[in-house]
């Protein structure tokens, strides 16, 4: 079979998994990597799941690989931080069935809290890393990664960036390869990484890096494209595409598909044949630093930025001083930041948090939007789980403010890494109040199931984890539930738990308004004659409500009928319609 399709980069990685005979996929969602696992789940031949976090996902996939299957895990760049512990030791154990790790970086931080460059992990953990430029390469490199993994007995990275993961290009499809399970044979010297065994494995890892660097010089994953030799360009991933767009055949390219390890001789050979050498790479100067350490004269970050995303525009301007003629609009264009959706269940809670003037340690999810105007009710956002553990530390050193400080964390994030922080609160007795925002879904990444939702990735019904029971089990005695659209009850619950002299959890429960099962079956509108223009309804920051001619007005195309605004109005001006 040979079929051509317009495929998203992430879908092409999933297709690569299918064609490579991969049997096992486990991941935690994270933009821009999420769809790899969603698409993989559409193949009946692949077992695919959402794990509670990236460390668990990584370890389950490694377990599957040790058992003899081709296995895969996907994560965003910051997810790799979570999975870093098993990563470094998996480098020592190596694999049995092939093991591939998909990691998606997010230059420009379209949907992330930092701009870290995952290539440093490949170097630090001494693992090969492939980097595709388009969907065809996403598919082909994923298959090649399994071959490399088994050939060199190593986990292999496939690194994407947002523009590769979320761009569609034409991709040729093939059939699935029949890859039988490898035998599992007990091998403690390889798989029990106690000091005695690990000491013997480390030199094997070092030799492996040398072997793969040698292989890189002849691999088709790296290629030279000769054009005009007055300019030479070393690039990979999306950077290669931008360079190609700008220079076309007016430059020669060393297009790197293997970004770790690098082969010094291959780079030197290329450099020796071109007059002026550019290294064009987004984020950190990884290739450039390697070139310079090996005596290769090149231009990189002295001209190109470390921060943000590249484009053909940026490269043309910085390297050729060329700019397009553009249209212009002189007026002031207000920014349009992302906001909580109309009907978002987080809105009522954040209104109360702001009203009570609390210090709010935040977490990763849609509720991070509670930091924006007009709610502005967040103090911190660090990483998955840091709200709960951060609150513990905050309260320990500021006991005078424990009744004014809370943590907010979503259901999926709580399962990811909130439970350990809560255990610390219970065990080491801080008088902390944690709010678990249970909207029955992993929201920001686009609606993925999690252990609390009662469904698996493949939509198999399961017994949901009960957040109440988890909190009780770790030692929290005060656990209660509240509906965030009942503003009065929410306020009361928060005040009471903050006043209590022991740790407590409030589960703030209402489903995401975007879930198909949520249908309020009505809309709200403002009766202008009754509106006293007090602007109280504006305080909840609903994008459906604005002021027109001095009165509140609800946009019927945006309103989903949650009714939160009705409870805000003291004059009965907001009424249910339909």
């Amino acid at each position: 079979m040979s079929d051509k399709k317009l495929l998203l980069g992430n879908a092409a990685v999933a297709r690569g998994l299918y064609e490579a005979g991969c049997r096992y996929v486990s991941s935690y969602p994270g933009t821009p990597s999420t769809e790899i696992t969603e698409f993989a789940a559409q193949y009946d031949e692949i077992y695919a799941e959402w794990a509670p976090n990236e460390k668990v996902a990584f370890e389950t996939a490694l377990g599957a690989a040790i058992a003899g299957a081709r296995a895969f895990t996907a994560m965003k760049h910051v997810g790799l931080n979570v999975a870093a512990d098993p990563l470094f030791t998996a480098s020592y154990t190596g694999v049995n069935g092939g093991f591939v790790i998909g990691v998606a970086d997010d230059p420009a931080m379209h949907s992330s809290q930092n701009e870290q460059d995952s290539r440093h992990y490949a170097i630090a953990a001494k693992l090969p890393m492939l980097e595709p430029s388009d969907s065809t390469e996403c598919l082909e490199f994923t298959k090649a990664a399994f071959e490399l993994s088994e050939k060199f007995d190593t986990p292999v990275f496939v690194r994407l960036c947002t523009r590769v993961a979320h761009s569609q290009s034409i991709t040729a499809l093939s059939d699935r390869e029949d890859v039988p399970m490898k035998d599992y044979v007990k091998n403690p010297a390889k798989f029990i990484m106690n000091p005695g065994n690990a000491v013997k494995r480390h030199p094997i890892v070092e030799q492996r890096s040398i072997d793969i660097a040698e292989y890189a010089a002849t691999s088709a994953l790296n290629r030279v494209e000769w054009g005009d030799k007055s300019v030479g360009i070393i690039a990979s991933g999306a950077s290669y595409l931008y360079a190609k767009e700008v220079f076309g055949n007016k430059a020669s390219y060393l297009k790197l598909g293997i970004v770790n390890p690098l082969n010094a001789q291959m780079l030197k050979d290329f450099a020796s044949q071109v007059e002026k050498l550019y290294v064009i790479e987004e984020l950190d100067p990884v290739i450039e630093t390697f070139c310079k350490a090996n005596g290769i004269d090149c231009i990189g970050k002295s001209v190109l930025p470390v921060c943000g995303e590249f484009s053909q525009e940026l490269i043309a301007k910085l390297l050729l001083d060329k700019e397009n003629n553009v249209n212009s609009y002189e007026g002031n264009v207000p920014v349009r930041p992302p906001v909580m959706c109309p009907g978002c269940p987080h809105r009522g809670l954040f209104y109360v948090l702001k009203k009570l003037r609390l210090t709010v340690l935040g977490d990763i999810g849609c509720y991070t939007l509670g930091g924006a105007a007009p709610l502005t009710a967040l103090d911190t956002t660090i990483c998955m789980g840091a709200s709960v553990s951060g609150l513990h530390g905050f309260n320990k050193v500021r006991p005078e403010s424990v009744n004014k400080t809370v943590a907010v964390i979503g259901d999926s994030t709580f399962m990811h890494s909130g439970i350990t922080g809560l255990t610390d609160i219970a065990y080491n007795r801080s008088v902390s109040t944690v709010l678990v925002l249970d909207n029955h879904i992993t929201g920001m990444t686009g609606h993925q199931q999690n252990p609390c939702t009662g469904l698996t990735l493949k939509n198999v019904p399961v017994e949901p984890v009960k957040i109440e029971d988890v909190c009780t089990a770790v030692g929290i005695k005060r656990v209660r539930t509240v509906d965030p659209n009942d503003i009065k009850a929410t306020e009361t619950a928060i005040k009471e738990e903050l006043a209590a002299d022991e740790p407590s959890v409030i589960i703030v429960r209402r489903p995401c308004a975007l879930l198909k099962k949520v249908n309020y079956g009505c809309k709200y509108s403002v009766e202008a004659d009754s509106c006293k223009s007090c602007r109280l309804c504006m305080g909840i920051g609903c994008p459906a409500i604005s002021f027109k001619e001095g009165k509140a007005s609800i946009d019927a195309t945006l309103c989903v009928g949650c009714g939160l605004c009705e409870t805000m109005c003291n004059f009965g001006a907001i009424r249910k319609v339909q």
């Binding site: 317009l6 590769v164 525009e313 249209n327 609009y329 207000p334 920014v335 909580m340 105007a373 946009d555």
Partner: protein, 194 residues
């Protein structure tokens, strides 16, 4: 030299610009072009300003993104987004603009003002503008969610593909139960763009 055609779609998260880019991508592939479509997922989809790119060529398309001064067509789902992204349109490009206004949060909270006369200002600069009330036309077709297909209808009058080709592509991309509404939306968009 063979050149690439660039279509940029700018809207507000939730307006269906992703589907529009997929329809246009499918259209270009059906005519044998090389195609790249670049999308935005995740955080910015939550009511934020969202842009997607469709690039096609009879040669290879390299970059997946469109930069300032490169777009042959700019399809804007909302007035303010037309102002925000007009720099991306080539000086002789075509702007297809929905006249709908969606107030961004800084305007709702009173921290900023929604500019008046955006479309007129852009026209006054000599830009070719096709403006239409796509929201009303979508409602007339049977669903306010069909704004994207109304705009594709307007685009169809000016693009290199025939009306029938675009229509056939919509049929292949839209779920059957919404097809009737979308074909009507397409027709209304096509007829209102002159």
């Amino acid at each position: 030299m063979k050149s690439t055609t660039n279509i940029m779609i700018a809207g507000v998260g939730g307006q269906g610009s992703l589907l529009a880019s997929r329809v246009l991508g499918a259209l270009a592939i059906s005519k044998g072009f090389d195609v790249k479509v670049s999308e935005v997922h995740g955080m910015s989809q939550r009511g934020g300003s969202v842009v997607t790119y469709v690039r096609y060529s009879d040669d290879k398309v390299a970059s997946p993104v469109i930069c300032r001064g490169e777009a042959d067509y700019l399809l804007c789902f909302e007035q303010l987004e037309a102002a925000r992204w007009i720099e991306y349109l080539k000086p002789d490009g075509v702007l297809v603009a929905n006249t709908q206004k969606m107030l961004p949060m800084p305007v709702i909270t009173g921290a900023a003002e929604y500019p008046e006369g955006i479309i007129e200002d852009i026209k006054a600069k000599g830009v070719k503008v096709i403006d239409l009330d796509a929201l009303s036309l979508a409602a007339e077709a049977g669903s306010e969610k069909a704004v994207n297909i109304v705009l594709i209808g307007a685009f169809a009058r000016f693009c290199e593909f025939s009306k029938e080709e675009v229509e056939a592509c919509i049929k292949s991309c839209v779920p059957p139960k919404f097809l009737e509404i979308n074909l009507k939306a397409f027709e209304l968009g096509y007829n209102s763009a002159k």
